[in-house]
Amino acid sequence: MKASRIRTFAAAAALLAVIGAAAGCQRAGTPAAASDPRDEAARLQRTNAQLQKQIELAAGKEFYLVLDPATSGLTLMLKGAPLQRFTVRGLQVGHPRVAWASARDPRHVQSVIWSGGELDPPRQIDRLVIRSAGPGKEASESTPPPIPPTPEELYPVPSRYHVRFADGLSVEILPREADASVGRWAHARAAMAEQWGDIRSALRTSDRDAIRLRITLDPKDAQSFYRSLPPAVRLIVLDGEVEPAQPAPAELGDGR
């Protein structure tokens, strides 16, 4: 009698435990089930808005950049065709501040198509002008034409540079490692010049970099990007977080 009573109690307890667990699961699941579909709908809305923008870019005549944080890729594109892809090693967002007071722009880099991107400092070409001697006349000198420079000789790349877009976005390109060929003094001078440039830009009330997107590339990619970027480029930043495999932000700079 005693043993059967114990068995009955044990069975009842087990049944209660199962019911309790099931109820608990349901309680835990109910809010998630209620919130997830709305979040999913919101995410779909955002994805569709971005697809719409990508279609707009692909249908246009301008070159454009697609920054995809999820795949760590920065791709130069035209008419939907990927032309050149650069691997993004780090991504940070910078906001101006004046005397420790934040002057943060409320816009998010993801929400718009940024247009009119131009290199700063600009890539310049010195055009050689040749004047013909006229028919029947000998050319001024019989010296052979000089061998033209290579792209590396023709376009020296600054250690850091920007692509400045209309409406206040600036993409700052930063090589991943310091250039070993440059001395410490040159580095210090460059850093001071950069700091001073930042201060001047932040103090400007108009025409300043309202948002900065700092992209870290491998040194070769950073140079290639500078040499190859077409004028008046557009930019879109896709959904997604930066992959965790990338270097921590602390490795990328001093937090400024």
Partner: protein, 264 residues
Amino acid sequence: MEPSPSLPAGSAQAAAASGPDAAERRSPAGPQAAPGRTPRAGRGVWFNRRTVAVTAGALLLVAVLLRGTGYRYEPYAEQPLAVASDVPSDARPLEQFTARLRSRQRALGARLDALMPKGVYIVIDQTQNRLYLKRGDGTLLQAVCSTGSGMVLRESGGKKREWVFDSPRGRFEVRSMSRNPVWHKPDWAFVEESQPIPTNPADRLDYGTLGEYALYFGDGFMIHGTLYERLLGRAVSHGCVRVGRDDLRKVWANARVGTQIFIY
């Protein structure tokens, strides 16, 4: 008390009227203006110390303020998800709403895919003088090429024309392809060599300069071979894209009339 040589008589009298301490305080000549008293050597130093302290404080303040001026960087974070007001909250309408969004996503994805080039396409980086043969995201061939030199040619006599030898930028497509192409030399080729422009079209024909193949993509521009392979990788052409013999054969084998060419 004799008046200080540096002070007018009136001021010395006024100083005498207020006592020696006052005269000492007011006299700009300092302690030396009050004979018979021990000079207070600390006065001038005190003033200098104050100036230095104020200047140092001001500089420190400016430094602190400048330190807090510039740009503050933080790790990139995705834009927070915000549920719009048009998203229904009831289960059934929400399900239908989400289904519509999914369907739209598929349609938009298909539209975007349709804009991508189909099959093989050619990409030319004219700054770095590289030609890529691509299919989708994959690269079938990477070749060194030569693009426009950017030189300007000015005609001295005649019509005083000017030519800029840039490669075009944008999207093009192969309009025609020819084996053993013959170059129909334009006017600038004669002007550049200081030769008279021929009136007979046959005199413009140049054999062998363009290599084995040429792929025309409009406005007199083409991808072709070169006699000067040692200059590949440098911007030396008059706007055409010069490719080495072996690479040109691969391009020829993969390209068709209609193949898209992207030059940037």
